[in-house]
Symmetry: C2
Subunit: 126 residues, 2 copies
DNA sequence: CATACATGTAAGAAAATATCACATCATTTA
DNA sequence: TAAATGATGTGATATTTTCTTACATGTATG
């Protein structure tokens, strides 16, 4: 569902629409951005343009505030989420390169030996 | 998927966004509306507000025009689609009301007879 | 050639949004 | 308790976006 993700991250909504969707004032929306919690894009005329993901983020902020968490707390929450995401990206990227390395080594052995490995289902053995 | 349908029909996009999404000029978008092919909503300030369905419709119009069909032709296509939709709605609605009628009659027979049918044929014949 | 169709363009008004500054009200802190 | 802070309201003013209306243009068609 790459398509859906792309759609959700398209910055297509002006602040007036977002105000209605999230039930927030323009002041609140701009303040959360000023505090580094939200990062809407800007169009050529400097107007903020929001994606559906941006709206979700604003609703999340609103919930946190309603739960008594202040902006500093929310900022910390997002910082930790960011860290976790980075770690996961690293975890995901490392095995791939390891596999690449093995593949390369494997190929080199094949070339050197002039014959194919007999184990593993990957190639016919005869 | 009622949720998705609701989302797609929410009028949240200003004309500037739609111009970019559909790659049409404001003139074109307004003209298609003037010709009765598109029906965007208006906000309190009389600004056109489009849904994703509206954008799809505009892309469709664009395709038809690119295929050499003129506006009158497109109008006719949509008129026929409208007719078909109405017919289907009627087809869908009629059995329901028929069932309602049977149910009502059945209930009335019960009331009159003062006893319940033991099922099979819906009402006792004597 | 005259017409109609689809679109471009310009003018002026109204609406939406931007930034900035100051106000307010509740909560914390000194 | 006074002072500071945090989240939001409000007002002023500038800029951008969109609206309607009118006229222009190019292309195809009778």
């Amino acid at each position: 569902m790459k398509e859906k993700e792309l759609r959700r991250s398209l910055a297509v909504l002006p602040i007036g629409t977002v105000m209605k969707l999230a039930n927030l004032t323009a002041r609140q929306i701009r303040y959360y951005e000023e505090q580094g919690l939200s990062h809407p894009e800007r169009n050529a005329g400097n107007r903020r343009m929001f994606s559906l993901n941006d709206v979700d983020r604003l609703l999340e902020i609103k919930d946190y505030l309603a739960d008594g968490i202040n902006i500093a707390g929310i900022k910390e929450i997002y910082a930790q989420q960011q860290q976790k995401a980075e770690q996961q990206a690293a975890d995901l990227a490392r095995p791939l390169t390891d596999n690449d390395v093995r593949q390369i080594l494997h190929d080199e052995f094949l070339n050197i030996g002039g014959f194919k490995s007999k184990h593993g289902p990957e190639f016919p053995t005869h």
